[in-house]
């Protein structure tokens, strides 16, 4: 059987033209996907059974036993962290928020080690955005700043940006001007008309210089900024001003570097400045396929897009205090539920060492370094492949992920429901004991 126009559940591009060949409920072949998406949909070796650690070893248990142990851990903690959420669907995210409210925890997403600074920058300045469809159909000038879609979002250029053919861009790549700003040459920069190599950590200064040049105040710009000659920056500013419709895509090269959210703040200001002269939009290159979704679901349910503390009477958000890395670094959390993420691999080592000191519940289809530290391991169906649900593309467009094959594993949503039910019955038993 061929499943046509399936949606890929790897990155924020959410490519919706994937054909998946299914035989006897197994994925046999994936067509149109990039290497990243194909690898994700084809799958890897799975965790076989739920497990609970006893005497230092993970021992196989039933799902119900794992849910009960997870509920005990969450209720015994004074401030549990519920972290991950980027590689699962909105329906599971919604259930996670309910669980965080019920147990009085902090819910944070992988955005905080990714585009968290973009989220903060956008809160400060607002986002002059567009859909990827608008970019495909209209943009004649594309800037990739601190991102390398050729390796992180391989089909972005062909489907939406530099090489896409759209209604008003029928000639595709040949009629577009592509600019890449980075600290190194990349596969993406090989496709550029103009490549600007800056010194690491100088994004803010270079953006400031461009803002001055765009505003016609080039006389205040020094001869060299961030290792780039003023003449080269002036030519870049002219290219930006000459655009009929320009689009800036930015990545972790700018959010992970010195300046972090202030870099984004400044980039947003540059795009706002450019809109005094021509049409320009800007968009973060979101990594995990539904990291946009957790931001949306958290925002409409709590008012905040990430790092939300539900231990108080009302949701509270203060990144630097309530973000996962800050909570762990300051030992301000005492248990963790990790879902659809691998912080043991992706957090700084010193923070992983703090995480290992507390009980960890892991919900994931695959074994990874977080499994090595976990006390409860609950294997799940792969959202977007074995379970359906909603996901948000990097431009904020909500798309429905279909189930491509059946699975004997429960979905993330079903697992969270199971834990929630155990939390409620355990709490009511505790109340009755307390009352007696």
């Amino acid at each position: 059987m061929m499943v046509e126009d399936a949606i890929c559940s790897f990155c924020g591009c959410l490519c919706d033209d994937i054909n998946v060949e299914v035989e006897e409920n197994n994925v046999k072949r994936v067509r149109h996907a990039c290497r990243l998406g194909s690898s994700k949909i084809m799958g890897h070796e799975r965790i076989r059974s739920p497990m609970v650690r006893k005497d230092g070893e993970l021992k196989e248990v039933s799902y119900q036993q794992a849910y009960e142990r997870a509920a005990e851990i969450l209720l015994a903690a004074s401030k549990p962290l519920l972290y991950g959420w980027a590689s699962t669907v909105c329906e599971a995210q919604k259930k996670g928020i309910l669980l965080a409210e019920e147990v009085g925890g902090v819910l944070d997403s992988t955005a905080t080690v990714c585009h968290g600074p973009s989220v903060i920058g956008i809160e400060e300045k607002g986002l002059p955005g567009a859909t990827l469809g608008q970019v495909k159909n209209r943009a004649d000038t594309i800037v990739f700043w601190g991102c390398n879609p050729a390796e992180a979002h391989p089909r972005h250029s062909l489907r939406y940006s530099s090489n896409a053919c759209g209604r008003f861009t029928p000639e595709g790549r040949s009629a577009k001007r592509i600019i890449v700003v980075d600290v190194r040459e990349t596969r993406t920069s090989k496709n550029a008309d103009k490549q600007v190599i800056i010194q690491p950590g100088t994004d803010y200064e270079v953006i400031s210089a461009l803002r001055m040049l765009v505003a016609g105040k080039g006389d205040v710009v020094p001869d060299e900024v961030g290792g780039v000659a003023k003449k080269e920056l002036a030519s870049l500013a002219q290219m930006l001003l000459a655009a009929k419709f320009g689009a800036v895509f930015f990545g972790l090269g700018i959010t992970h570097s010195r300046g972090r959210y202030k870099n984004i703040d400044n980039a947003l200001s540059l795009v706002a400045d450019l809109n005094s002269h021509t049409k320009f939009v800007i968009m973060p290159m979101r990594g995990h396929y539904n990291v946009g979704g957790i931001g949306q679901v958290l925002a409409w349910s709590s008012g905040y897009p990430m790092s939300v503390d539900f231990t108080r009477q009302a949701p509270y958000f203060n990144p630097g205090e309530t973000a996962a890395c800050d909570l762990l670094a300051k030992a301000d959390t005492d248990a963790a539920l990790i879902i659809a993420a691998d912080p043991a691999s992706n957090f700084p080592r010193k923070i992983v060492e703090e995480l290992a000191k507390m009980p960890i519940i892991q919900i994931d289809p695959y074994e990874n370094p977080t499994t090595l530290l976990a006390d409860v391991v609950i294997p799940s169906a792969i959202a977007g492949v074995e379970a359906e649900g909603t996901a948000y593309r990097m431009d904020g467009l909500a798309l429905r992920m279909r189930k491509l094959v059946n699975s004997s594993y429960p979905s993330d949503e079903e697992i969270l429901d199971g834990i929630l039910e155990c939390v409620r019955s355990l709490r009511s038993a505790m109340r009755m004991q307390g009352g007696a």
Partner: protein, 127 residues
Amino acid sequence: MRAIMISGRTLAQGANCESKMSEDFFKAASSCHLSKEDYDLLGLSDGKNILLKNEFGKTVLSPRVDDGLRKGIVFVPMGPWANILIGPDTGGCGTPQFKGVEIDIEATNSPIMDIRELFGSVQRAEA
């Protein structure tokens, strides 16, 4: 030698990020890309590994020449090997500084730790 490290996605790292316990992920993420000039200066051509260290820790990786890098800048695929060198401070915004990290690099005969060895030394508390 002093260097600036950046960490990030590569195609091979991304394609294996759901199979982190595999040999393929080990090959994809335990490498350090550097310019030919730095590679030669460190004397890495005779099969030696490269040691990266700073105040937060040290990690041994497999060196790879990358013509896209300027002298003094090294690239390590995102993952647990790179993250040994990342500090915990988030500058008040929740996000550690994964790029632009100051490190020292030198040639070494030490082996590269595999993923289980890497986490074997993490002290875990029994729940």
